[in-house]
Symmetry: C2
Subunit: 337 residues, 2 copies
């Protein structure tokens, strides 16, 4: 009898307090009608391939000199980019164009500023054999990696053959890069319905970003990366030396057309534009207004838009720095010349 | 009564089987009289300072170009060294001497090949301002870091002032480097009494290493690093362009005298010698016999000694790659020229 009463009292207490709890744990309502979507929390991945790709991404032996790795110009400590106007390559040659971030690159419709690589795998081979970048060649990288027994084993376990080739190298690097996403930015939390994730100023910035028209090109999961657009559409861009998509298609109308860069983690990846025209994000916003939108964006507006843009910085990938297998007597020696 | 009998039987069973268990869990007897001692499993560390030091170690903004970090030449993916004859520095200048490993450097009696820095802290300032290496200067690095609010906070929390200076920068880098030890090599397990950790061939190699006299200089925790010795003591070394310790002391007798390098993780840190004379560890062993010991070491003997040397590869430090705070408008821009 005593037990029964206790149970009844407990049930009563539960029924009385439940609405209180329910109001406290109310589920946020995602904002589904925004032009920007949150980055997924994770991606499907082939773990062993990703680990191999990480090793390759950090391995300087993919360069002729043995000094430059993918990470040299797409540094995962600094937003997946190198924070230089243009990258430093073999023999300190300066590249022609600002290095785009590798973070969230999986969401791009194509790779490179001019989109000349259809995906990350196709992209990965480019810098390795570019004489101004890593200055190696695909035969040499195959030979280097094939001389290192631990690599041979890892490739065999994944690709099922004894022959390391550039297609496999690119595939593994791309598999690693595919995992380099930055979820849980404050803006994404807001998109998921957490109202408190943004300040009033940041929200105003977002409204300006939409109202001024920035969002016309910078939208989707990556806030960009999903279309090609002409730089200087309302006013000719002062630097027309780099022709962009024209180099791929040969079409006159593709001159000065570039892949719209992602704005995710934009505060980490100065300087801005393909020609690194400015280090200042507010100035970048105003220049975009001038050349792309025909809008005069005031200092105060730019300040608010920048406040919004900084909410796009997400959790950076947690990378355990790889330990690379040593070279052997058969490994071609690095060549610094 | 039944209970009591059960207990007595259980005790009896325990007493009978105890010696069997005891023989199975016998504690290995450490080998205390060997000239090499195991690397400790851990070191005392100021966690926040180590974390800051790690960030600085990987931060390319400590170089003039914004491209070169401590890790560029002391790469923790490749044995704490760069696997190049000499390092590549600012504007692709080639350094004068092979980059020594940062792993286990805490056990060295002094730093650099010529021992010109008394400890890791003193060493850390050198490459930053060396015009052939990172090509920055200590005023510039102070200015760069002071412009980055997250760094200012981290330094304030640790050093208690608002002023970032080079002494603090060096101190933090050294604190990180102090933790870069590689315990639990197979040789250390053997030293701790685990007989099965080495093969017969490796043990023979170790006996040769002792009997030939290698151990006379390569001893202690780091298997080297604890004395200065003349290179070419029994036969003049063919390359006498780098004078070593003479540059520090000015003493004639210190010409061609160098800090004995550690042999820990030696399989990871080719090429060998201060002038990178060989990439082949067996050849390095034979050259040492020739110039230091006046001993003709046969191919077979060198092969065994190399087998022993490879047991000195320990667990590499597990590094979570740092995420660096972004530069600000006040941060001096990188200068690639």
């Amino acid at each position: 009898m005593t037990n029964k009463i206790t149970i009844h009292l407990a049930m009563l207490a539960f029924l009385v307090t439940m609405p209180v709890f329910a109001s406290k744990v109310s589920i946020p309502t995602p904002r589904k009608n925004e032009p920007i979507q949150p980055i997924p929390l994770g991606v499907e991945a082939h773990t062993a391939k990703v680990e191999l790709g990480k090793m390759l991404f950090f391995d300087p032996r993919l360069s002729k000199s043995g000094f430059i790795s993918c990470n040299s110009c797409h540094n995962l400590a600094t937003g997946g980019s190198d924070n230089l106007p243009t990258s430093i390559g073999h023999k300190w040659q300066l590249g022609p164009i600002n290095s785009p971030t590798v973070l969230n690159a999986r969401f791009n419709l194509a790779q490179f500023w001019d989109g000349r690589a259809k995906d990350l795998k196709e992209q990965a081979g480019g810098p390795i054999e570019n004489p101004k970048e890593m200055a190696s060649n695909h035969e040499l990288t195959d030979e280097v990696l094939s001389s290192i027994s631990q690599y041979v084993e890892l490739f065999r376990d994944i690709y099922g053959d004894d022959d390391i080739d550039i297609e496999e190298i690119k595939d593994a690097i791309a598999a690693f890069e595919d995992t380099l996403i930055t979820p849980n930015s404050r803006f994404d939390l807001w998109l998921k319905g957490h109202d408190e994730a943004l300040t009033a100023k940041e929200l105003e910035g977002y409204q300006l970003f939409k109202n001024k028209g920035c969002v016309g090109c910078h939208n989707g999961v990556a806030v960009g990366g999903n279309s090609f657009q002409k730089l200087g559409i309302v006013k000719p861009y002062p630097n027309d030396k780099i022709l962009g998509r024209f180099n791929v298609t040969g079409k006159e109308s593709d001159k000065m057309v570039f892949k719209v860069p992602t704005l995710r983690n934009i505060e980490l990846t100065a300087p801005y534009f393909h020609d690194a025209r400015t280090w200042d994000l507010a100035e970048a916003v105003k220049l975009m207004g001038e050349y792309e939108l025909g809008q005069d964006i005031s200092d105060e507006e730019a300040d608010k838009i920048v406040a919004f843009l900084k909410t796009l910085t997400g959790e950076q990938p947690r990378i355990v720095y790889p330990v690379l297998p040593p070279s052997t007597a058969a490994t071609p020696k690095p060549d610094r010349s």
